[in-house]
């Protein structure tokens, strides 16, 4: 399992695996292997959603911090 997968990629792969399984045109070993991958992907997705912490950064602009703070809270 590629841990470097983005959430979107993981979710799309999970969706594709579910669809492939439901088509049912493969043998049981293949199905089991796909299921294993799908279950791992689902776990990754859940973990990402539950454990992620919002990252905050800032770009340099012309704004100066000591400028007037005009906006009401």
């Amino acid at each position: 399992m590629d841990e470097g997968l983005s959430f979107e990629q993981a979710l799309k792969r999970l969706e594709a695996i579910t669809e492939a399984l439901q088509k049912g045109s493969m043998n049981l070993e293949e199905m089991l292997a796909l299921f294993e991958e799908g279950a791992a992907l689902a776990k990754i997705c859940h973990q990402r959603l539950n454990k992620a912490e919002l990252k905050l950064s800032e770009v340099q602009t012309t704004f100066e911090k000591d400028g007037e703070s005009e906006e009401p809270a």
Partner: protein, 388 residues
């Protein structure tokens, strides 16, 4: 000193007038007089007040929001230039509003109409928002509640993203260049998936930077799609019209920018359930198939065994029919020489006084030979085995 032609001077005047920033974008109020219409549909009139008057021409009647007639008071927007053919300085009007409307509202309507004509608000140019953004740019004031709200909402709904703040003032003189600069800074990075441009509620003056033409164009030219969330849901700004998506408030903009985490959880769960159901179904099918095969095999083995048993029994019967027991039951006896164990089938095998063992159908007894006589009894002579 030099003598100029009239055309040189009117040309010179035109250059001066048209290079002046104030004259290029100006609202003038006055009373309409000398109104006339050319065959091409252009309107010519004079705007006058107690002290003065000015020639006006309106080529595009689409921007006319009043019924034009002599004597009415209007406010006209346009640029001042000189019509060189007659040497008259005039206002080239692009919009006329009735008096009594605030200047900001007039300006708003004028810019909205202008940009709409240019196609900046076309639904067809609105770009879809990414379903799963990884990096979200935020153009807003760094200190305000707006940033706090946006951060909270996104953190709760979909914390997988990186928020990149492009801080700017959002009102006052520095707001317009600040917003444009912030948008550019985000777009220059090249890795921003969607940009939220937001400001909390306020008066029309407070929100004015979001009605600026340069800001509108910066939003239009943004590489990343832009979500506007300016003021309250009753406030509409030019930025809202040109943005790819208008949110009624900054918080709503944050919600539009990211998917809902709990819905995603549900979706993932549904995938897992579907996978398990499918797989369990397939395993059950396979089990059934194995059971069926096992049944078939066991039936066939049973059949094969019973066929073999039949055959063994047949052989057994055949064997019994060949054994001497039947013969003994019919009254014949099997005689062995007691000393040698040899079968006695001829009289020459025994002598008087020898002990013999006589086997009959249910047992045996011992006997002694007392004499012998050669020759068969008469009925035995026809017995087939003696024919040779």
């Amino acid at each position: 000193m030099q003598v100029y032609t009239v055309a040189q001077i009117t040309g010179y005047l035109r250059d001066i007038l048209e290079s002046d920033g104030v004259l290029a974008d100006i609202w003038i109020s006055g009373e309409v007089s000398n109104l006339s219409e050319s065959s091409a549909g252009h309107l010519y009139f004079t705007l006058k007040d107690e002290a003065s008057q000015m020639r006006c021409v309106l080529f595009n009647r689409k921007r006319l929001s009043v019924e034009m007639e002599n004597g009415i008071a209007v406010v006209a927007h346009g640029r001042i230039s000189i019509y060189e053919v007659s040497g008259v300085v005039q206002l080239y009007v692009d919009m006329i509003q009735p008096t009594g409307v605030g200047i900001l509202h007039m300006e708003f309507e004028r810019l909205k109409a202008k940009l709409a004509e240019e196609g900046l608000f076309e639904p067809s140019r609105k770009r879809p928002l990414p379903a799963f953004p990884e990096r979200i740019g935020i153009v807003t004031s760094p200190g305000g509640a707006v940033l706090h709200d946006i951060t909270n909402i996104i953190s709760r709904r979909y914390p997988l993203v990186e928020l990149v703040l492009a801080p700017t003032t959002v009102q006052g003189e520095s707001a317009v260049p600040g917003i444009i600069n912030a948008l550019n800074a985000l777009n220059d990075r090249g890795d921003i998936d969607v940009i939220i441009i937001a400001r909390g509620g306020g008066s029309i003056e407070d929100l004015w930077a979001f009605n600026d033409e340069k800001v509108a164009r910066a939003i239009y030219f943004s590489k990343a799609p832009v979500i506007s969330g300016v003021g309250h849901d009753t406030d509409f700004t030019i930025a809202d019209f040109v943005a790819d998506k208008r949110a009624p408030t900054p918080s709503a903009a944050a919600e539009l920018a990211v998917p809902q985490g709990s819905e995603l959880e549900l979706r993932i769960q549904n995938f897992v359930t579907a996978m398990i159901t499918t797989l369990a179904g397939r395993i059950e099918q396979n089990r059934q198939h194995v059971d069926d095969l096992a049944d078939t095999i066991s039936t066939q083995v049973k059949n094969a065994v019973s066929i073999s048993q039949e055959r063994v029994r047949g052989q057994e019967l055949k064997l019994y029919s060949l054994s001497p027991i039947d013969t003994l039951q019919r009254g014949y006896a099997l005689i062995q020489h007691s000393a040698t164990g040899e079968l006695v089938s001829q009289i020459s095998k025994v002598e008087r006084g020898d002990m013999i063992k006589v086997q009959v159908s249910d047992g045996q007894f011992n006997s002694r030979v007392t004499g012998s006589k050669k020759g068969l009894q008469a009925w035995m002579k026809d017995f087939p085995s003696n024919k040779h």
